[in-house]
Amino acid sequence: MTQPRTHGIVVSGVGGQGALSLAQILLEALRRTGLHALQSEIHGMSQRGGSVHAHVCYADFPITSPIIDDGCADLLIALEPLEALRHVALLRLDGALVVSEEPQTAMEGYPPLDDVYAALKAVPGAHLLDTEDLARRLAHRQAGGMALLGMASRFLPVSETTWRVVIAERFRAKGPRVTDKNLEAFEEGRDRVPV
C-alpha cells in the first residue's frame, strides 16, 4: 500500500476547444466517486484562441491547493499536440499523457509537425490519438475530446458507470443523439488503452 497523496490531472488545449469543459467533467466524475477534488482554471483573455489549461487535483483526504507543481501530475490530457508539450514537465516520472495528434496551427511560428510528434513520442507513457480520423469515422466533429477522456479514464479511479452518468448529464440538454455520440466517442477512446 503506497502512502496516500494528492493526485493531479492537467488538461490543456487551445481556447474554444473545450479544455475547461473537459476538466469540469473530470471534476464531477471524481466528486461522484467520493474523492476530494479541486479545479483551477484561467478565464478571460486566454479564451480568445490562446493557450488554455486547467489543473484538477484530487485525493481521498481534504485538499486545499488547486495548483499542480512540476513533477506532480499523474496525467496530462492535451487536445492539441503543441499544447501538450508545454506541460510535460508537470508530469511525474510515471505519469501518463493522452494527446490529440490534430494540430491547431493558426498562430505565429508553429514548429514543424514532425518535430512536435517526435517530441511527443519521446515522452514515456504517451498515448497519441488521431482525433481527426476518429471524428470522420464516427461522423462526429467533436468526438476527439470525449475519446481523449475515454483514454484518460483508464488512468483514473472512476468507475465506467460513473463516467457514463456524468457524461450523459453533461449533454442531456442537447438531446439523446448528442449524448449517445459522446458516449460512443468515450468508449472508443477507452478501448484504445489496454487495461
Binding site: 469540469q24 480568445r48 486545499t64 491547493s65 488547486p66 495548483i67 507543481d69 513533477g71 508539450l85 516520472l93
Partner: protein, 557 residues
C-alpha cells in the same frame, strides 16, 4: 436546503450573498470577478422574489447603487476586479465614514500574475487605506462562509466589508455545501437620527472619521477568531494569508515535517498586533506566504524581532502569483523529479481576435486610412476590451493602453501638445464606463481629435454581458457636444472596407473633434443569439431617429 454543488470561489461569494438575503447585486464585469455577479444574477432571476441584479455603467456607479440600497435598509453586494476598485475609490473610502445601514459587502477580485489585468495592486492595502475590514478566504468553502460572516459583520459594526479574492481562488472550482437561504429582510430606511451621519460636510465628516476609528477595538474583537498564532515545535515559523494558507496546508500534508512549524494564520484585516506578537515570540525566523504585495510581511518586518523571509528579501519572487512550488523552494523541501521538460522551442500561442470579428475590419480600415492620410506612423491611443488585442504584432494598431476610458483623454492631451492626428480607439461599453466625461471635455476643448468607437453591442471580453450603451452610442456622442456632421456610423465588414477608409480619412482630415462609430455585433454574441429578442422587439417598435443621417436614414426620410 443544504445543496451540494460544484462552484467557483467567486461564485461561492455570489451564492452566499444570495443566501444572506441581499436585496440586490451590482457590479461591472472584470476578470476574475465577473462570474460572482453572474452567479447571484442567475439565483435572483430564478427566485423571482423582487430582488435585483443590475450591471452598472462602471464600478463607482455600482458601488453607489449598493450604498443606496444599504441606506434603504437592505443588504447589497457589489462586485468588481481590483482595478475597478480604483474607479469606485471615492465611494468606497467615503462609505467607510457614512457607514452602512443594510449590510454592504464589496467583492474585489485581485489578479496577481496579471492574467488579464494591467497591474497587480493589492486590495488589502486599499481596505486599510479606507479603514474598511477585509476578509480573505483561502478555499471555495471559505469564500462562502466568509461572505456570510461579512454581511453579519457589516450590519453589526455598520461598516462596509471587503471580501478579497485572487484569481486562482476566484477560478478554483470545488464542492460547496450551501446553507438555508434567507429572503431579504428590510430594516427600513436609515433612521432620521442618523441623517447627519450620511451628510459628509466637514463638520459631520470629522465626527464620522472619529467614529470610524472608534470602531477599531470592536472590530479587533470580532475579527480575533479569524487570525491565529498556532504554536509549534520549532523556532522557524510561517506567516500565512489567503492562498499562502491554502498552499501551506497542502504542502505540509505531502511533507509532514513542516507541520511542526509555528504558524501565524491570517484571514481578516486589520490584524491584531497582539496576535502577531504572540507568534513572533515563538520564532527566530519567519517565512511569509501571501498573495500579491508583501503586506503582512512588511508589518512583521517592522517589528524587528525575527528574521523575515519573503518577497522583500528575495526568498520568494517579488512579483507574480504564489504557487506551492514557491513555498517548497523557500522552505527547502526536496522537489520531486518528474519528466524532463521539452527541449523543442515552443512559441507562445497568444489570444487572437475571433474569426469574423468586426474589430479586425475596423482596425484594417483605420490603418489604411492613416496610410492614405500620409501618417501611417501615427501613435493611436487604445483602451480596454477585446480590441486591446490589436496592440499585439503583427497588427500593432494601438500604442497605448492604460485604464478604462483613457484613450479619449490621452488622445486629447496629445492633441493639445500638438500631435496630429490624435486618434483614440474605445469600445462601446468602455465608452459608457468612463469615455463619456472624456468626450465631454474633448468637445469643450475643441481640439483636433478623432475618436473611433468600436461598438460590438456587448461587453465582449468578459463574456458578452449586456452593454449599457446598447443602441445609445450616437445619442451619447451628440449629447456630449459633438457636432452631428462630425459623427459617422460605419459597418465594419470586408465589403465596406473602401467606403470605411474614405469615411475615416474625412474624419482624420477634419481639423476638430470627430467621432466614427463602427457597429457590428460581437461574433460570439451573434452566435449565442444574445440580442435576437432585443432586436426583434426594436424592429417591431419601428426605427428610432437618432439624428444621424448615416445611421438611420429611413427614420429621417
Amino acid at each position: 436546503m443544504n445543496q451540494s454543488t460544484l462552484s467557483l470561489g467567486v461564485e461561492a461569494v455570489g451564492m452566499a450573498a444570495f443566501d444572506a438575503g441581499i436585496k440586490g447585486a451590482f457590479g461591472y464585469p472584470g476578470t476574475p470577478s465577473t462570474e460572482g455577479f453572474e452567479c447571484v444574477e442567475a439565483l435572483i432571476q430564478a427566485a423571482d422574489d423582487g430582488r435585483v441584479a443590475q450591471w452598472a455603467a462602471n464600478e463607482k456607479v455600482a458601488y453607489d447603487l449598493a450604498l443606496g440600497m444599504s441606506y434603504a435598509g437592505f443588504r447589497a453586494l457589489v462586485t468588481m476586479k481590483h482595478v475597478g476598485l480604483n474607479v469606485a475609490m471615492d465611494a468606497f473610502v467615503n462609505s467607510a465614514l457614512t457607514g452602512v445601514h443594510g449590510g454592504l459587502v464589496v467583492l474585489v477580485a485581485d489578479d496577481p500574475g496579471m492574467h488579464s489585468s494591467q497591474n497587480e495592486q493589492d486590495s488589502r492595502r486599499l481596505a486599510a487605506f479606507a479603514g474598511v475590514p477585509c476578509l480573505e478566504p483561502s478555499t471555495v468553502e471559505e469564500c462562502y462562509d466568509f461572505t456570510l460572516r461579512a454581511f453579519a459583520l457589516s450590519e453589526q459594526l455598520r461598516v462596509p466589508v471587503m471580501v478579497r479574492l485572487v484569481t486562482r481562488l476566484a477560478h478554483c472550482r470545488a464542492n460547496l455545501r450551501r446553507q438555508p437561504s434567507a429572503g431579504p429582510a428590510g430594516l427600513g430606511v436609515a433612521p432620521l437620527a442618523t441623517v447627519q451621519d450620511w451628510v459628509l460636510i466637514p463638520s459631520n465628516a470629522r465626527r464620522r472619521y472619529r467614529d470610524l476609528l472608534a470602531k477599531g477595538p470592536a472590530l479587533t474583537t470580532e475579527l480575533a477568531p479569524m487570525n491565529r498564532a498556532i504554536p509549534g515545535g520549532s523556532r522557524r515559523g510561517v506567516a500565512l494569508a489567503g492562498l499562502g494558507r491554502a498552499y501551506f496546508h497542502q504542502v505540509s500534508q505531502d511533507y509532514p515535517e513542516l507541520q511542526a512549524m509555528p504558524r501565524l494564520e491570517v484571514a481578516a484585516y486589520p490584524v491584531d498586533p497582539t496576535v502577531e506578537s504572540a507568534f513572533l515570540a515563538q520564532v527566530d525566523e519567519v517565512f511569509v506566504f501571501e498573495e500579491d504585495h508583501p503586506y503582512l510581511e512588511e508589518r512583521l518586518a517592522l517589528r524587528e524581532s525575527a528574521s523575515i523571509h519573503g518577497r522583500l528579501d528575495g526568498t520568494t519572487p517579488r512579483t507574480g502569483e504564489l504557487a506551492p512550488r514557491i513555498l517548497k523552494e523557500a522552505l527547502g523541501v526536496s522537489l520531486p523529479s518528474g519528466k524532463n521538460a521539452i527541449t523543442l522551442e515552443l512559441p507562445v500561442r497568444a489570444p487572437r481576435f475571433c474569426e469574423g470579428c468586426g474589430h479586425v475590419d475596423a482596425y484594417q480600415a483605420l490603418q489604411a486610412a492613416l496610410t492614405l492620410a500620409g501618417v501611417p506612423e501615427t501613435r493611436v491611443f487604445g483602451d480596454i476590451g477585446c480590441y486591446t488585442l490589436a496592440a499585439q504584432e503583427p497588427m500593432g494598431a494601438i500604442h497605448a493602453v492604460v485604464e478604462m476610458g483613457a484613450s479619449i483623454s490621452m488622445a486629447l492631451g496629445a492633441a493639445l501638445a500638438g500631435q496630429a492626428p490624435a486618434v483614440a480607439v474605445i469600445g462601446d461599453s468602455t465608452f459608457g464606463h468612463s469615455g463619456l466625461p472624456a468626450l465631454l471635455t474633448a468637445a469643450d476643448a475643441g481640439a483636433n481629435v478623432t475618436v473611433v468607437i468600436l461598438d460590438n453591442r456587448v461587453v465582449g471580453m468578459t463574456g458578452q454581458q449586456p452593454s449599457q450603451a446598447l443602441d445609445q452610442v450616437e445619442r451619447m456622442v451628440l449629447g456630449m457636444g459633438v457636432a452631428s456632421a462630425q459623427l459617422q456610423v460605419l459597418t465594419p465588414l470586408p465589403k465596406q472596407h473602401e467606403a470605411n477608409v474614405q469615411a475615416l480619412n474625412a474624419a482624420l482630415r477634419h481639423p476638430g473633434l470627430s467621432v466614427v462609430v463602427f457597429r457590428r455585433e460581437c461574433i460570439q454574441s451573434l452566435r449565442r443569439g444574445l440580442l435576437r429578442d432585443h432586436d426583434r422587439e426594436a424592429k417591431l417598435a419601428g426605427p428610432a431617429a437618432c439624428g444621424v443621417a448615416s445611421c438611420c436614414p429611413e427614420a429621417l426620410s
